[in-house]
Symmetry: C2
Subunit: 363 residues, 2 copies
């Protein structure tokens, strides 16, 4: 596949994935885990997918300082200079801003794709074709492009994008962004054909996102504008600058800071078997089930009168279950979680409670 | 406390305790486990209790060959010659018969108490007084004496003994033995004041139980009568004899073989805080509970909307539970069990199923 030398990728891999606790831990968050049992972590799968399209030397990783070692360990093919280490967690807008300033300094003609590192994509050829179409669009237009996934069910756990005027095949202006809808509304959205899942995958030229940040999130842009000439092409200077300035950014998402405010926002409607793998239920839905509708990960289960559960136990173990319906049973590194799937939104709070009671031990 | 030199004790400790799987395992059954967190296993506690009354050199252990090492390890004060090793599991009648033949050969005047090794007794002074009263009775009478525990609730998991004519203070003839009753009947039993729990603790003289076996279980008695003179006082000869003959005994309980048939059966009514610790529910009932009515053994639990559970996890671990009511959550040595307390009678079958599917690994 032809690879343009001006195309770049930023893989965001600094999240802590607490919705998958206790499997996903501060020390090894979900993107570094082989969740699908393929032998490759979600981050490695993300890299594999995009490296068919973007030259390896143009693939950047932006993550927390704590995960430098994990990225190097899992991706020996990554350029060490391409691992950008955040000294603090500031959500996606400052993260993307830094990447944009960095890449623009290397290549003023750069176009870039921003990828989360913890999604699942099953149809990689369609993914590749969609990404190429997206690159071509943003290279021709001063556009902020987001990918909208054709919904296959009235999911209430995702945000939706309503499409506006069509500008070319599969590309429309964005009319609205909508937060996670209640089920009734989600059903209406899906039936209408006008609403697509917001995947959090973006394409744009580096100069275009920089301009959008200046306009819509000037306080974030101002932090990076402080850098004197040459900072973003000199690793030692950049490190010093980031250590000093990055934490002064407000913590804000790129959606809220830019996408919902800018007027040059477009959506490419795509369909490539996508899941954000955002929760145990999402993993359950995605996984093959046995005759009783149970999903097992890495473990052997003997079950009686038990249906709709997901058993995810790290380490060789036999689980014997009786009378469990629709539970998550997950264990890793000294923590066993037993929680109804319907209550999984409580897991984040459980992690906080465990930290309050027991310190960092189980975080 | 004065100890009669003609008083003996037989501690039966060969059971596999599969109702406490996966905590209790073939390799280390429940009597070898410190279930109460006191620092002493149930077997050790049994030994401690009886050694106040019976001289240590008169305390015998009868167990499966596989547990020789565990008994020696846990009770270095036991006489090695007093550990009788069964080459096969044949229930309690052959086990007690061997012990009776052995002890009678050592001391024709012997009286003996037979104790299970996996019971809990909380009031040890009352236990000691009851046992002494029992010894005194069987030393004066050709009696088979069983202890009947004053019931404190209409338990449906125990057998009951109905008392007949009183023969002296706290000692009556046995009228009937009754299997585990349904709840309605158990309530009537308890209210009547005539029914006592069958604890499976027996006292008799060695010559009296031998005579009772000859009369009521002649096929079992015949096996031990085959032994030529001196076999039961010569360890090498006894071992050879037992290896050759023990397995030919039928597998039968002492209750069924003798107690329910003999006419010289008496019950001493006692009250010393007894539990047979026969199941997870029994352990739950016996254990201190937290504010949510949960019991934890060896583990740290963070629970939400969860009540009436018993969490027993070997090894340091945090358990986080949401929405669990009245479950057993037990883990040890590579097996995690999650089962409603009300379904615990299925555990024995689960062990069998696990063996069928995975071999001895999880037995």
């Amino acid at each position: 596949m032809e690879q343009s030398q001006h195309r770049y990728c930023v893989i965001m891999c600094g999240g802590i994935g607490s919705r998958f606790w206790p499997y996903s831990r501060v020390e090894r968050p979900k993107q570094f885990i082989d969740f699908l049992g393929t032998g490759r972590s979600l981050l490695q799968l993300t890299f594999d997918r995009i490296s068919r399209i973007v030259p390896s030397k143009n693939i950047f990783f932006i993550t927390n300082e704590a995960y430098d070692g994990l990225v190097r360990e899992q991706l020996p093919e990554a350029e060490p200079a391409n691992i950008l280490l955040e000294p603090a967690r500031r959500n996606t807008a400052p993260c993307i801003a830094w990447a944009a300033w960095h890449i623009a300094a290397l290549d003023p003609q750069a176009s870039m794709i921003v990828l989360p590192s913890d999604h699942v994509i099953t149809r990689e050829d369609e993914f590749a074709a969609s990404v190429i179409r997206g690159f071509e669009f943003v290279e021709r237009n001063d556009a902020l492009l987001t990918l909208g996934i054709t919904p296959v069910r009235p999911e209430t756990g995702y945000g939706y994008i309503q499409i506006g005027q069509s500008v070319e095949e599969k590309i429309n202006k964005v009319k609205t962004f909508t937060e996670k809808p209640p089920l009734d509304l989600a059903k209406v959205f899906v039936e209408s054909g006008e609403f697509f899942w917001n995947a959090g995958i973006f394409l744009w030229r580096a100069d275009v996102i920089k301009a959008a940040l200046f306009k819509n999130a000037p306080d974030v842009a101002a932090v990076f504008e402080k850098a004197s000439d040459g900072v973003f092409v000199d690793p030692a200077k950049e490190k010093e600058f980031i250590e000093k300035e990055f934490s002064s950014c407000v913590s804000i998402s790129i959606d809220y800071a830019v996408m919902e405010r800018a007027d040059n926002v477009y959506v490419e409607t795509v369909s490539f078997g996508w899941s954000d793998l955002g929760s145990w239920s999402a993993l359950y839905d995605l996984s093959p089930k046995n005759g009783d509708g149970n999903v097992t990960q890495n473990c052997t289960v003997l079950s009686y009168n038990s249906h709709g559960n997901i058993f995810a136990i790290r380490g060789e173990k036999l689980i014997v279950a009786e009378g469990l319906e629709d539970y998550i049973i997950a264990e890793a590194d000294g923590v066993l979680l037993i929680c109804p799937k319907a209550k999984e939104q409580k897991i984040k709070q459980m992690v906080i409670d465990a930290k309050m009671k027991f310190g960092d031990k189980y975080e």
